[in-house]
Subunit: 388 residues, 2 copies
């Protein structure tokens, strides 16, 4: 059964009531009728569906001055579970979360994404079975699977599109493959969009305009505008890595070459520059480690990468006027060097109206940011968005 | 009475039904109940409110094979009117539209925005009274006023913020001033956002991701992502004019200076370049006229401005992945020169995934694009968005 044929877990017209209970305190039926302006009979009918599915349950009773206290109703995040999958070049994480995005069970492993979809997804399926079993949840409790991949993904079909570091995955039907084992909707997106969703939901839920930038082997952005992740017309929004960098960012060591941001500021680019300046390095991880021990060549290279990033982010800030720019990825974890370079340029170059309340901060989400975002993608689709 | 205290014209819960009738064919009550999944009693209650307000009326009856045919209901765009105001540096347009955004009556005049808010808004109020009177509509039929201004606007308060060509307007309470004459909600935004809304609604209603760029005395963009105009955290999104241009765009005549886009590609910048190359010009209008008669210096200057714009738009396309980039403003009306330069660079530089279905086109909206967008801003707020 495809997810189009499957009846929606929550009827479209009940989503407003459910959202009120998910984001606010427990309420009585009378309060819900008053707050929504709906007829009591309408509220009752919609709550019946939500209570039958277990999504809404009685909560502790409201204090009352006498007589039988009115029953309070609350959202029940344990009613169902979500499978969240975060795949990188060399790591994989599979987690089971509840409907609030809280992790119930998690398993991670070293994987080789370049080995192709079959062995990687075989591991995903077996890890998924293990986290389900270990948490004592039945397969019928599963409402969906969210997957983050380290490359471009056509979100509408869930297929990777020419992913550079994922040989064998081009146009592979990831949802179809996983649905052969778990008959639920499968949503797939690139890792940066997933991280943006996770960072927004966990650390900045009240901000409507946030840009998440990952600086690692590649460079990409996840864009939240008007409170929603924006994927663009073909799902390729956020491709910062292939933006050309203004000449004025270029210091003498780079020369006046025509270069895109990834060629200047990614982990491998910084490593190459370090190697040419007496501090051999090859990968983003090497750069991270050298930065953490404050190797002076690494610090200089990372800070200049921050300035180059800042040149592009100054444009992003003028264009999108976010209130938060979050910097993540391995290069960002090397201390304050990268952010210092970014801030130097962005605050110097963007217009005052765009920067007056702008914060440029480190990612808070840590290593579970990916699975968190993948879970939130599924929860939003199943509980929030209009049913198909 | 402020618009917060005013009862909403359309109750929140009735907006779904109204949207169905606005965007689709006339329907019977039974069809509406079936399409929405709502109880017939709920549909009846919501339709009562919509019929009482005149927004929904009986339409021609559906063909029936016998017996009394079921009554069809339709959206009635004539039920109310909107006042739409488009103010530029030297022109003003005031229009009365119906709820479909169709213009019922229009008046335009030469104005001097730099004369300050009082004389300009005095003209707006008197022109508004004339178009209301001439169209035979009562003041109580007015549901709101939309205003476009040629400078930065804090959309939440409707106040211009340090507008460069509008002396005396800084932080002026435009909504408060107009509400003294017409007691309805007043929404104000900058002209580029208004033009983006108009262009999207009229020419590209099915595209979710569109960027409108105005190239005139200044340069700015209106961004529609995920089907909605994105204003950013402080409402300054779309500030293309202050983005720095990559060095590689610079031809020898510009030199390797550090310049923002407006200093290279606006009407006055092109005019200055033309003057330095033997074709005296001063304003965007001079550039437009020289371009239209294919003056070779003008053609060269406009085409190079297009390439500079293209450098910045290549970044915009990688970042936002729009399906349509619309180019408007006086410089764009000078023929194909500007778009030729833009296309040359954008198609050469943006990534294939972002450009494979990208169209770069001229604005279609013409001189009424501003009032159209202003009307649509009001209609969306009053009929579509959640009530305050």
């Amino acid at each position: 059964m495809s997810d189009v044929e499957r009846p929606a877990l929550v009827a479209s017209e009940a989503r407003g009531l459910l959202r009120m209970l998910r984001t606010g305190p427990p309420r009585t039926r009378a309060q819900l009728a008053e707050l929504t302006g709906l007829a009591r009979s309408t509220v009752a009918a919609r709550l019946d569906g939500l209570i039958n599915s277990g999504l809404v349950i009685p909560a502790g009773d409201e204090l009352s001055s006498g007589g039988r206290p009115p029953a309070l109703l609350a959202f029940n995040p344990s009613a169902r579970v979500v499978l969240a999958v975060d795949l990188g070049a060399t790591h994989g994480v599979v987690a089971l979360t509840d409907l609030a995005g809280d992790i119930l069970r998690i398993e991670s492993a070293e994987i080789t994404i370049a080995a192709g979809p079959e062995p990687v997804l075989d591991w995903v399926v077996s890890a998924a079975r293990r986290v389900l079993r270990a948490s004592g949840r039945a397969r019928r409790d599963l409402i969906g699977i969210g997957v983050g991949l380290p490359g471009p993904v056509e979100h509408s079909s869930g297929r990777p599109i020419n992913p550079p570091i994922m040989p064998g995955w081009n146009r592979f039907d990831v949802p179809g493959c996983l649905r052969r084992h778990f008959d639920v909707p499968v949503l797939v997106d690139n890792d940066v969009n997933i991280l943006a969703l996770g960072e927004h939901a966990v650390s900045w839920p009240n901000e409507t305009d946030l840009v998440f930038v990952k600086v690692s082997t590649g460079i990409g952005a996840g864009i939240i505008s008007g409170g929603r992740l924006q994927r663009g017309a073909q799902g390729s929004a956020g491709d910062l890595g292939h933006v050309r960098v203004p000449f004025t960012a270029r210091t003498p060591q780079h020369g006046a070459v025509d270069a895109d941001l990834e060629a200047l500021a990614s982990g491998p680019a910084i490593a190459a520059w370090m190697s040419a300046h007496g501090a051999p390095a090859r990968t983003s991880q090497d750069v991270l480690e050298a930065g953490l021990r404050c190797d002076p060549v690494a610090v200089q290279g990372i800070r200049q990468a921050g300035r180059d990033l800042g040149e592009v982010l100054a444009t992003v800030v003028n264009l999108l006027n976010p209130s938060i720019v979050v910097i993540g990825g391995s290069v960002a974890r090397s201390g304050e060097h990268l952010l210092a370079g970014i801030r130097e340029v962005v605050y110097g170059q963007s217009t005052p109206l765009a920067t007056q309340t702008l914060s440029i901060v480190h990612s808070q989400a840590g290593t579970t940011g990916g699975v968190l975002g993948a879970a939130i993608m599924v929860i939003q689709r199943v509980l929030d968005e209009p049913a198909p």
